[in-house]
Point group: C2
Chain length 366, copies 2
């Protein structure tokens, strides 16, 4: 059978080594005779897996002790509500930087609970979010409760090339499609969250890394499952209950550690992305709308300039085993997502196909 | 290796036939070369799995067309908040029947949003919830927005032996540890919800079956992921995103259909439970605190009357491959959970062990 490379942004494929480990343990975890699918997160064995997953993540990201790691139920969009519900003060001021559909959706959700300001945006009149605005401290309301950013824009293929300076205002970042792709200076953020499906593992779970001083406040009527303080204090009832997802996350953390940690991930991801960007920069058949300094190395967006050719590209690529290359519905074109699990060979195959397709399908106007 | 029977209440074991199907498809779904773990719920293939899972469930439970099936993020405790947030009217009256720890937790959560009345309780002075109170229409406030019950009490081993008559007040039931154990007359309920982990499959997802007239109301600030109307209208963003869980649920629905549907499940479950209850009724070594007419056939609680013997029982049973028989922390004793997936042979092994243990460990006072 033809080798298949899945360029979908979510759920992420699992690295081959993780698949092999999973395959060997799925129906008999560490010789217990138990399937990983049937271990309870409240059992001793379950607690061991949860704690060891948190320990691995803390080491990988070098997370200081004054930050808690929470495994929350649901995907990142649950955090769009949880964040304002938990960390707004009585003032209820929240500043959002809008750089794509998800950061805009986060802003919209916050409006249910806060006086929300759009501190900066890469949108403007053009709905294509092709850049990341540069912000300074003066762009934010000095008494804002937090500033929210989305660090990597999965749909448009941009990422932050700097960490916004928000002074004393807590910086909150959605890192769903960025986490574990390279080292992160956690201390620059008050709260980092990441739905696991983009770059960790399949599953309905979100990792929240939160600085202690942000715990314990918020509204009185926060739904229990969204209450950071409750989840931090009681691992039993309110945190993610699906141990299988936590187990998959742990396998992924362990794999990254084994192959050399986040510096090595960064090296691999830059090498993969460069292969495509270097090719894009050398030819004129495909265009990339993204501002060069904001290029994501996890999600790469490109167009032929002809919607019919784009469709043909996506169909033909799938026939070659290069699947899920369609851009987001409202954007069109192509998008190649290159999470940690995407091997270099997959990207080579894609660039090879791009060259072949361009030769075989000359544009009419050329 | 010794055959292991897992009597844990959650997550449920998967039926052997489901495990075999999963094993054959996990890393190559229907010959696509794709792992089920990496199919997106928003892809065509994903949508096909979601729709087919809903169709199977609708047929199994004979769910009328004026009810929607929602696959929601998170476990049943997320619904403790979602229900009042979505279905309270301006009056904000909610009546709860408290028959155990979870129904009480649901009531506590609702107090954040509603004027909550405890319409009935099986607790009283005795913290052991060993029965289910009989209620009549007059027990509920006539202008209440809904009545909430928990149909099967996982921790104490009781279940409703009747459906409360609430007149025109919508009846809402947590059926996490009851759903699919037997046929249910869905039309008697306005909303049924069930976390999948007890009797469907492992995973952080809750099935919500909701009558159309309950959609579209509620508060203006419902978190998006908890908004029934949003989930019903947009399958894409706000519903459960982990296709793997939906796929496991579908395998379970299909398995039940193949072996004869819910009538057959009921026959099997009654046969399994009777084996234990009949034995309990014939001897005096073990006692069951549960009112006979309210006996759950999914969760069976029993005690030796001596905490040390209880501990010994749990340890020895585990050595024989009969695992997770410890009662809930605050209750003690033993609990055997017999979800659909527990084979008759597992229950035979348990009763055999109970007899042997009683013979080998006479009580001192006897």
């Amino acid at each position: 059978m033809k080798k298949i490379y899945n360029f979908s942004s979510s759920p992420t494929t699992l690295p081959q080594q993780v698949v092999e480990k999973l395959n060997s343990q799925l129906f008999n975890y560490n010789g217990t005779g138990l399937s990983v699918l049937e271990i309870s997160s409240t059992s001793e064995l379950g607690a061991e897996i949860v704690n060891s997953a948190k320990k691995s993540l803390r080491e990988l990201l070098n997370i200081p002790q004054n930050y808690k790691i929470l495994f929350m139920q649901g995907d990142a969009s649950a955090q769009f509500s949880a964040i304002p519900l938990n960390i707004l003060s009585e003032r209820k001021y929240a500043d959002y930087i809008v750089t794509g559909i998800y950061s805009n959706r986060a802003r919209q959700e916050a409006k249910k609970y806060a006086d929300v300001a759009e501190a900066a945006s890469s949108g403007g009149a053009n709905p294509i979010f092709s850049t990341i605005p540069y912000t300074q401290k003066s762009d934010f309301r000095p008494d804002s409760d937090y500033v929210h950013i989305c660090y990597n824009n999965t749909l448009y293929g941009t990422k932050y090339y700097y960490i916004p300076d928000t002074g004393n205002i807590p910086l909150v970042a959605d890192m769903s499609s960025y986490i574990l792709s390279c080292p992160i200076d956690v201390t620059k953020f008050a709260l980092i969250y990441a739905g696991v499906e983009n770059n960790i593992c399949p599953g309905d779970m979100t990792v929240v890394i939160i600085r202690d001083d942000l715990l314990g406040g918020g509204r009185k009527d926060i739904p229990g499952v969204m209450n950071y303080n409750l989840v931090a204090e009681s691992d039993e009832i309110y945190s993610a209950t699906s141990l299988f997802t936590i187990y998959l996350a742990k396998l992924t953390f362990d794999w990254i550690t084994e192959v050399g940690g986040l510096e090595e991930m960064k090296r691999r991801n830059e090498r993969k992305a460069s292969l495509i960007y270097d090719y894009l920069d050398r030819q004129s058949y495909y265009t990339s709308p993204v501002d060069k300094k904001c290029r994501s190395y996890t999600n790469i967006v490109f167009f032929t300039g002809d919607a019919n050719l784009d469709s043909l590209f996506i169909r033909r690529a799938a026939e070659e085993g290069l699947i899920n290359l369609a851009g987001y519905t409202t954007i069109g074109g192509m998008r190649a997502s290159l999470p940690n699990s995407m091997p270099y060979e997959g990207v080579e195959a894609l660039v090879g196909f791009m060259k072949k397709f361009a030769q075989e399908n000359p544009k009419l106007e050329m």
